[in-house]
Point group: C2
Chain length 240, copies 2
DNA sequence: GAGTGGTCTAGACCACTTG
DNA sequence: AAGTGGTCTAGACCACTCC
């Protein structure tokens, strides 16, 4: 069941992209929208709040809700969008190689790369993403195999997120990410064929993934070829 | 006037940091909080929504609101926090040099670095941030001088954001940021004294800043020494 | 003063989790 | 069946913008 406020949100969003409400124009007032959609003001406000969060509109007391003009809009990132989803949105040719696909168990001996406790059974998956012929990213995943079962190399070649959400019907709730620039290792050079010699660092996006029940289930280290890396964000100033 | 829901948000947030509600425990139910604070459920829900956004709690229907255990919590980033605020939070010794502070006007001849239209009067400010003795960041700002007036070198040495918000009483509403890795120029090497020779890229955070009335007023290009760069984010999976 | 969005209330029903 | 959070309603007052 799709909530009413969500439908209204979608409707208005569509209207914005179809220039029914062009950039810099104002949406109808909340009261007018109440009349249009035959609903309560609170429901309208929830819909507008979502648009505000996403950076599509800017609300101002006493004035109204103004459509924000877009620069960055084409890249609907931030949030937890997965690699596969992202690249699909933008017609890139992507090939995924899976040089490592194995089951391991966390031991005291293991370099403590992950935050998983000793004894946790994991999938360890390394994937190389080749975008339009360029070896661009190394994705290294550690995923709890007691939570996400029956992963296969085939699934890894497509989208693990999609499998988790659509097939297992679990939902990835949130993640903590850290972006740094790390020195290139020999293994990096082996995997990222064609990486220019003068580069000495890769851009690393490390993230911890959690399910809705707050289970920590996934640790991913994505290492990007620096000239192929871009991260976009829409940020609202905290009123805190 | 501070809204009630905001006070409740702060109260609960404090209680979380003071371990009144430890990690992984559940907050009192919304109905219980209604009784505790003698208010309506909607007000409680607004307070909890804010905590949810910030990644302090995870709400689950039928269960309750669970306190999320923190890894990354110490670094309350994401959003639009300025450099100065950030570094202050974490007791670093910061020195700021201001090698360039000038007024310019956008001309057709100008390399179109910024998105400002021709004729816009700007401050052009270059700052170098020296953190604990290490030349770490070059901040290059282009700020509309017809919007932000009376900027001085002295203000630039402290925090421009603080000046805008506290002295001009304007509010920075939102920004679009892009993170990339850019090749090092000769000017970069001159400004970032001590930058190791083997480095060939800096991490660039480019951002466009907008006021609450959607005026585009600031373009900043921050170039970070790669071994000094870190960007942390808490991201919720979009339900879109 | 009229119109806007921001806060707050009190109540209702629903979907989900747990015993 | 009882308790939880999620949605929705209808109304009130306030702070702000603009004329």
């Amino acid at each position: 069941m799709i909530p009413l406020y969500f439908k209204i949100y979608q409707q208005v969003k569509d209207d914005i992209s179809n220039n029914v409400y062009p950039a810099n124009s104002f949406l109808p007032s909340e009261n007018e929208l109440v009349a249009q959609f035959h609903t309560s003001r609170d429901t309208i406000r929830k819909a507008l709040a979502k648009l505000d969060e996403e950076g599509l509109i800017q609300k101002r007391r006493g004035k109204g809700s103004q459509v924000i003009s877009h620069q960055l809009r084409h890249f609907p990132i931030s949030g937890l969008t997965s690699f596969h989803e992202l690249k699909q949105l933008q017609k890139f040719q992507v090939v995924t190689e899976v040089p490592i696909f194995e089951r391991i168990t966390v031991t005291t001996g293991t370099k403590n790369i992950t935050l998983f406790p000793v004894g946790t059974p994991l999938f360890h998956i390394v994937r190389v993403r080749i975008i339009d012929g360029i070896h661009s990213v190394i994705d290294e995943d550690y995923i709890r195999s007691d939570v996400i079962s029956n992963l296969t190399k085939d699934i890894a070649q497509h989208s693990i997120y999609e499998y988790i959400e659509k097939s297992l019907n679990l939902s990835v709730a949130y993640a903590e990410k850290t972006i740094t620039a790390q020195l290139i290792t020999n293994r990096d050079r082996e995997l990222l064929v064609g990486l220019p010699e003068e580069e000495n660092r890769l851009i690393q996006v490390e993230s911890q993934g959690y399910l809705a029940d707050t289970t920590y289930f996934q640790h991913t280290i994505a290492r990007h070829r620096p000239d192929q890396f871009q991260f976009d964000e829409f940020a609202r100033r905290q009123t805190t």
